[in-house]
């Protein structure tokens, strides 16, 4: 891949730190808009805390709906980061260098968004800490048989590991920024770079640590979403209680995560004029991965349906029939289309190298993946065992505002990141450029 880059070290430093220059008016406008949406979501949450969770559209039997949907969605989004940075790193996939920083940011901010929802969905958020294993006078512990307790551990572990990976991977780059910065910024970046000097000794330790962290993070990609899927799979509800859920959710998570990375890279490379660094080749590679994940997800859907039919379990059959023909059938067919069929367009090289097409297809995947979780969660609860207890979920203004606010929150964080930290890993890009010594000769 080296031949892709026609660059030198100095240009790289200049090009890849100019994104940190003072932002323009458009940036501020967008940021303000997102901030207002966050405020609206925050207000909605306040209303919900004050009045009760009934402000969201949930009921009996649908006790979980958009909040858990969006929670799973953001956890899923968070998966691409570690996949690209850790797994592709271990496989020495070179094109990852240009995109992994953003992917990791997606992971960290995705988790920071997802992490809000367990709080938002609680009936009594003011006692949320009871779910943590905090030693206490009464000797009350969380129930470790509950998948929700596993969830807490999985998410916090993943957040810790991915944050460390994110910060550690940035150290050499922050040092470059530090060297270029002045005033108080120099102090902040100085602190973040943790005394990085770029000495051989430091590099030796650093690269060794990086490999270790990458190896440590890799199983988390699999485990976190497996555990999230067990929130459903460990229950007795038809449509949830299924052994395929763990791989199925991981594949779905990566599917949506890749889509989100593409969606963020495209405007970023344009805005920061770093198309030489994040090239069409990189986007195309991501698009190819999306074809793969779309196929895996499509396979999982068909297996689910097959097993429901094959099992002769009347509840299982009923729920899948309900998904296809019932009150939420539109969502089911929409998700099948957007998640599986639309990405198939990427087989065409023309389409996968066309920016507008890529954006459209990735948006389609995001919509599809959100709907997938919505359909799994809501339809299963709406039509479980006792027909008398069947019910329907309808969103309200409050829960819609909170969900919209969460999207604003994610993009807000990402925008702040793009202006404060180097968005492309300079040191890894440089690894793929001819060293300056050679070119001087």
């Amino acid at each position: 891949m080296t031949e892709d880059y026609n660059l030198n070290y100095t240009d790289t430093d200049i090009d890849l730190t100019q994104s940190l220059k003072a932002p323009g008016r458009g940036y501020w406008l967008l940021l303000t808009f997102l901030f207002l949406l966050i405020c609206a979501g925050g207000y909605a949450w306040g209303v919900q805390i004050a009045n009760g969770i009934g402000e969201s559209g949930k009921n009996n039997p649908v006790g979980w709906a958009m909040y858990i949907t969006t929670f799973v969605f953001w956890v899923g989004i968070a998966h691409s980061g570690t996949l690209i940075s850790a797994i592709l790193f271990l496989f020495r996939v070179k094109w990852r260098a240009a995109v992994y920083r953003s992917a990791e940011a997606v992971t960290v901010f995705g988790l920071a968004t997802a992490g809000l929802f367990p709080f938002i969905h609680l009936g009594r958020v003011w006692v949320a800490h009871w779910i943590l294993p905090i030693p206490n006078f009464g000797g009350l512990w969380p129930n470790f048989r509950s998948p929700l307790a596993w969830d807490v551990l999985a998410i916090t572990t993943y957040l810790t590991a991915s944050s460390l990976f994110f910060i550690l991977g940035m150290m050499p780059d922050i040092a470059i920024v530090r060297d270029k910065a002045r005033g108080w910024r120099k102090k902040v970046y100085g602190l973040l770079s943790m005394g990085w000097q770029g000495s051989d000794n430091q590099w030796r330790h650093y690269t060794a640590a990086y490999v270790f962290l990458a190896a440590l993070s890799t199983p988390l990609v699999i485990s976190v979403h497996s555990i999230v899927s067990w929130d459903f799979a460990m229950s007795v509800i038809p449509g949830w209680h299924s052994t395929i859920f763990a791989p199925y959710f991981v594949a779905g998570a990566i599917h949506s995560g890749l889509g989100m990375v593409v969606l963020l890279l495209i405007p970023m490379r344009k805005a920061f004029k770093i198309e030489q660094y994040i090239t069409l080749h990189h986007l195309e590679s991501l698009a190819k991965l999306i074809i793969f994940t779309a196929l895996v997800v499509g396979f999982a859907y068909s297996i689910e349906l097959f097993i429901a039919w094959y099992s002769h379990n009347p509840y299982e059959q009923a729920i899948f029939l309900y998904r296809m023909t019932g009150d939420y059938a539109w969502a089911f067919w929409l998700l099948i289309t957007t998640n599986v069929f639309v990405p198939m367009l990427l087989w065409s090289k023309k389409i996968r190298t066309s920016i507008p097409w890529l954006v459209g297809i990735c948006v389609s995947v995001e919509i599809g993946m959100w709907l997938e979780r919505f359909v799994i969660i809501v339809t299963s609860l709406a039509h479980d065992y006792l027909p008398y207890a069947w019910g329907l979920y309808k969103p309200t203004l409050i829960d819609s505002l909170i969900v919209i606010g969460s999207f604003a929150w994610f993009f807000f964080l990402f925008m702040v990141f793009s202006k404060t930290l180097p968005v492309v890993s300079m040191w890894e890009v440089k690894e793929q450029i001819e060293p300056p010594m050679k070119s001087s000769h």
């Binding site: 009996n60 007795v236 006792l386």
Partner: protein, 986 residues
Amino acid sequence: MELHRREFLKIIGATTVGTTLPGCGIKQPKSLIPYVIPEENITPGKSVWYASVCQECPAGCGISARVRDGRAVKVEGNALHPINDGALCARGHASLHGLYNPDRIQQPMRKKPDGSWEVLSWDQAQTYFAEEIQKIQKRGRGGDVVFMTQHLSGALDELVDQWLGSIGSKRRYRYEPFAHESIKKANLLTFATEQVPSYNFAEAETIISFGADFLETWLSPVAFTKGFTAHRGFKNGKRGSMFFVGPRLSMTATNADEWLAVSPGTEGIFALGLVKVILDNNASKGLGVVDATRISEIVKSYSLSAVEKATGVSSEAMKKAALAFAKAKSSLAVAGGTTIEGDAGAAITAAVNLLNYICGNIGKTVRFNHPGISNLNTYLDVAKLVDLMNGEKISAFIFADVNPLFSTPSGLDFDKAMMKVPFRVSMSSFMTETSAPANLILPTHTPLESWGDVEVESGIYGLMQPAMQPVFKTKMLGDILLETRKKLKSSAASSPATMYDYVRDRWRLLQKRIGDTSDFENFWIDSLARGGNWESPKSKVQEVRLSPGFNGSFFSNMKNIENEPGKNFSLLLYPSLNHYDGRGANRPWMQELPDPMTMNVWDTWIEIHPQDAAVAGIKTGDAVQVSSPYARFDLPAHVSTTVKPGVVAIPIGQGHTSFGRYADNVGKNPIDLLDPKPSEKTGGLEWVGITVEILKKSERLALVSVSGSDVQHDRAIVQTIPLSELVKPHATMPTEEHKEEAISMYADHEHPNHRWGMAIDVDKCTGCSACVTACYAENNIPVVGKEEVNSGREMAWIRIERYFDEKSPTPRADFAPMLCQQCDNAPCETVCPVYAAYHTEEGLNGQVYNRCIGTRYCANNCPYKVRRFNWFETKWIEPLNWQLNPDVTVRSKGVMEKCTFCVQRINDGKNTARNENRAVRDGEIIPACAQTCPAEAITFGDLKDPNSRVSKLIVEEDKRDYRVLEDLNTRPAVTYLKAIDLRERK
């Protein structure tokens, strides 16, 4: 305004005393006798029970009010009372919502000329009342004073008559909207006695009901349900059978083994057809030759084919019913309810009388022994009163707890007539439609605050005592009458000063009459503790013969209430299980209790058959305009097979305009659709007989049903077993099929002392929903209102799941009470991250409300969907919150709640046993649902004790027992017993 600290404290102090005094129960020691403890001995935190009589309908069931710290918190059936034997219906439970209703009239009021109300003191109000009456007397119009009450018996009934007599009037009206005119008329014609007989369902092996919803609203539903349970109880391979004849599948009808859906108005033809079949088959019993020939002559034209043509019921079904009826050892046919109360009502009832007569049931299962209900005024009397009022012949209209403005058709113009009466006095508890136009209101106590006695049946005297101090500044009706009588300075100066003394005086006489020679105080206290006296000799059963003048011409007006298909429909109005004639509509529990057949709440709807609905393009929830010649309004449609094609049905009870916040503007009052002219044949209101036009409108109305599905999709929630299979001996030895060991990482739960369990007999459950309201009362379950129910947030811990049988040739619904199954392997417990849901050592799925953080995972994972989440903070309206059971936590927003088999009652029972150094006795602990069940469908006990009733029942009924969703390996503690199907299915 500046408020200094000292003043503030003073105000706070004063208001605290002011608000707590009425509640903390400063009791008059002489007057309140607890049921269990012989002496007045109120201990804080300890309940006492006061026996009284329920006044929610004319049935007169005995009740026990549980009083905690001076407040009545629960009403239960009085286990010693012969009428209801400890059971109570949903409306009886909701009497507490009458007592604590925030919309009660709280003090006397007089209407000012500008129409607003002026609050008076009791002295002012009574003086004003007495002066006005005196003025009327001076004008010589004392005899034109009308006093209208609902059905009363005993002391109060007598006192009202006396009071009226003291001012020289005899214009007393005992008004009930359902006054059984047809029954009385028919009995007069056939047996020359104008009374409502008493019916014995328990002794009847075969029952045929012609329209009578005796399990819901007709005459004495709790007592009849008890009797029905005895009739139907499966014993020695046999079970009683019941047929229901009528155009609507009511709750009672669906409890029948066969619903014979005759065209409206043809019930009598069907009955005569049965008579003919029986006589033709020589199956009559104890019938003299003369009577036999006479009756044969009367029914000779009612051949099978003619009857089939008129009624629409196949001749085979008719023959089957006739022979089942005649061949039974004893049988009972009843006719009643609004569906037969048309112009032909008396003829229909007379036909049913003949049916009973030829099978020898008169004097056995139908007894003429003067129940109190017979003295009601007819609708004709009310219509005549309207004429008198219009002619300004009435000088004063005094009424107590009646609401004719609501329960007579608007075409009668009772309101306009009433305004022609110069002095209108309401002695009622509520500002009803009839109270609102009064010019003086003397608000009365509710029955739970009053003294009184009730003669339900001859020889059964119920005694009413106040369960607590009055909630508001109201008075007992009896006291008002006695005090105003004194003010009127009438002759009866020696009469007792208070209702309490008045009742006691009557009981002195009663004691003498029954020959009890003990000290009166002992007799009195004993009667109070027991809730009455039923030892007095019963009046003799009147022997009746077929009247000599009775002949077939009487049946000439029986005909099909014709409707033109697709154009108009015969209209059926039926009293609602929840609201009866409308008097229960302001009880929030009753509004939120799903109607058992439609599962709708908080509304009035029109039931229309799917065939008719398809023709008109009507779907459930569509607005349809209903128009009769007398009224027109929109109702939401409820498309259902509960009615025959060509028939539409509307429940009575809603559509109030002035009855308080829970009733006003809820639903419509269908009575207005009726012809206000009384029937010439019966003197009653023609509840059936008119046709209405139905017009589909484009908009939809929010009809709220709690049922997610009308059918059970083959999920075996309600299971039935044909009787033929049940009586077959076991083909093989019982296998170990349920013993299949599931592999688990975790050890089984140990239940060292008790394992509480329940058996629910689906065959017995009638769907009456008394358990649901009892649970609301016992467990402080909030009422959430129509919109929240529409969002799927009703809070009931126990519900009656109603499923229509998809495979049944005729429409039929089964009921399954669904509550927490207290699984041994509970899906809810493992998923709670904080152990709020946990397994108690007695096998309950406990819920620690304080620990719950509100993930709702437990509810998601509950296959039975019986957990309920507090979506909002409940607003407990003052003084309805006085009813809250202090033994049960009031849950806050954001926590999950659920049934725990009334764990507070279990603990109470265990504590009692421990204090007495003994083990808990079987039957000592009963959850609220099982306690109140009139059908005795719920048995509760310790599954670890092999001798407990529940354990034995499960062993005995080994062919009927099943657990719902057993395949999930939840190992529920609730065992259901299959419904028995008497019909042979192909």
